[in-house]
């Protein structure tokens, strides 16, 4: 069930009505939200509901054990076991066939060929995200960030809550469980801002990301050898806008929908293409994942303890971040570019922050960072390294000035990039205007805007890009 569909609209109306009518009975409300979240997840494949349930039970059990255990060594072993189980399940679904292929290839090169059979494994939608939530829970218990362990019903809702279930944002246990544990307040629904986020998300996904993808970017990346340098350059920029609009749309809608149920999610994107460096970029792009990687991988690796250790940890973190997207060399290179640039930036700039740079330095930093991020996107989007190499070599065909980008596509692309430079508090500014209208009028405008966006969009909506991760 995708957000920008009528199916989801109906699901939301029923869930919203029932959930708020159960306000006086918080336990029933949580139970209903859990059941609704499992129905939402079951729309993809009901069998994966058992996996989600199993993950909730395992992490809940380990949470109980870690909380009750006093010895540091035992606690460390328990948290290590819980994380190993979480990552083992994730690794099985994501990398089993890749590892099997590598073993087959190695055995063949050693002259001991065995045709180990591949398994027909379907990657459960959102498995990465509920795995990250599970790890966040056991580690937060281990670090004593939670006063007490969650009950099993709370744990089930924490992992399955439908707005963030399949593509984030990653909501920390210490941030979200206390919200679930207290009754939702029917007098404190941040509705106007939620409406604006949902409408903005729908527009970004249904119009900008969909059309950029189908009318331009897909064709460019399908066969880069048929395009000239300018077209390829626009293709790379187009994909940068497409993936931003696609992914940030999902999280904006998720944040808005959660707010209508009385819950707060953290910000996940903050105009990433205006970043003046790679550190700045990762403070603006998929913030919930980058801060998750920082707190649960980078810091346990040793964090900033010494320059060389910092560089090593940055590279490991970004390479694993790349591999998380998929077992393929192009994702490794994507991670290596980001890790390498972070290392270079730290080595050259040290503690000097971009905010202290002169204006020309910040402008130059933004242009260079954006283009290097686009270079990394070429590897990320290409189906394999051959296509990526074709794309990069094509950027040298400057004599070929054909452009397949139409004025419509170029408008979406330029508009998408220009939106990165709007005021950071643009949603709050719009909200201050919108709240002047009475709620029935706000609702009418929301309804008209939804119809307008649906009329602008193509027939059918492609799944969000990050569903595959």
């Amino acid at each position: 069930m995708l957000f920008p569909t009528l199916d989801f609209g109906l699901f939301f109306l029923v869930t919203f009505t029932v959930a708020w009518s159960l306000t006086r009975w918080p336990a029933w409300r949580l139970g209903f939200l859990t059941a609704a979240s499992y129905v939402f997840y079951g729309f993809w494949d009901w069998r994966f509901c058992f996996l989600l349930f199993g993950s909730s039970v395992v992490n809940w059990l380990f949470g109980q054990l870690i909380f009750r255990c006093d010895g540091d060594r035992q606690r460390r072993m328990l948290v290590g076991a819980a994380v190993a189980i979480d990552l083992g399940v994730l690794g099985f679904f994501k990398y089993f066939n890749f590892l099997l292929g590598s073993v087959n290839a190695t055995l063949e090169s050693l002259g001991a060929a065995r045709d180990l059979p591949y398994l027909s494994i379907v990657l459960p939608v959102g498995i990465s995200f509920f795995t990250f939530h599970g790890i966040s829970y056991v580690v937060d218990i281990y670090r004593r960030k939670l006063d007490r362990p969650a009950t099993l019903p709370l744990m089930m809702l924490y992992l399955s809550f439908f707005p963030q279930l399949v593509a984030g944002p990653i909501v920390r246990a210490a941030h979200f469980l206390p919200q679930l544990a207290k009754p939702a307040d029917p007098n404190d629904i941040r509705a106007t801002r939620a409406f604006l986020l949902i409408l903005g998300g729908l527009f970004k996904k249904v119009v900008v990301a969909n059309y950029l993808s189908t009318e331009f970017v897909d064709a460019i990346f399908f066969d880069p050898s048929r395009h000239g340098a300018l077209d390829l350059l626009l293709g790379a920029y187009g994909y940068a806008v497409q993936i931003y609009c696609d992914f940030s749309a999902y999280t904006d809608i998720a944040i808005g929908v959660a707010a209508l149920f009385g819950y707060r999610f953290p910000q996940n994107f903050d105009q990433p293409y205006r970043a003046v460096g790679f550190s700045d970029f990762w403070r603006r792009w998929h913030i919930s994942l980058s801060s998750w990687l920082r707190d649960y991988l980078y810091i346990p690796l040793g964090g900033n303890t010494g320059d060389w250790r910092r560089y090593r940890n940055l590279m490991i973190t970004m390479l694993l971040g790349g591999l998380w997207h998929g077992a393929a060399w192009n994702f490794v290179i994507w991670g290596a570019i980001h890790g390498g640039m972070l290392v270079v930036e730290h080595a050259i700039l040290g503690r000097r922050k971009p905010a202290d740079w002169p204006l020309w330095g910040r402008v130059l930093g933004t242009i260079v960072t954006f283009n290097l991020v686009c270079l990394a996107w070429i590897f990320f989007r290409s189906p394999d390294l051959i296509h990526a190499a074709d794309f990069l070599s094509g950027l040298g065909r400057i004599d070929d000035s054909r452009i397949t980008a139409t004025p419509f596509v170029l408008t979406l692309l330029v508009g998408g990039l220009a939106a990165q430079f709007l005021p950071r508090d643009r949603v709050a500014m719009l909200e201050r205007l919108a709240v002047r209208a009475p709620f029935p009028v706000q609702g009418a405008l929301v309804g008209a805007a939804i119809v307008g966006i649906a009329s602008l969009g193509p027939a059918g909506v492609a799944p969000f890009i990050y569903f595959q991760f």
Binding site: A191, A259, I299, G443, V451, G452, S455
Partner: protein, 102 residues
Amino acid sequence: MPPKEKRLPRDRPPIEVMDGAAPARLRAVAGAIASATAISLLLGSNALLAWATALPVGPTGDFALDLAQRWQEAMDSLGLTAFASAITALLHAFQGAVWPGT
């Protein structure tokens, strides 16, 4: 001398999108959502028909399709499909635009 510890703070709070947003009462929000639903039904009958057409064939799907068709015809006769149609036509015109000289 061992390297100096420069760890990042572990308790950096997440940035809240909803900070400073205006709170509203459930009754008002429910009214707004009801109003949005009503306007969507009135102006978006074309999308409703497209959705019903894609439903699996069966008694429920056939019933929904029949209902959506009749609703769309009723809205069309009232001129309420013009809003969506005008937006789609505008988009198609823009989509079909080409560069000067081509």
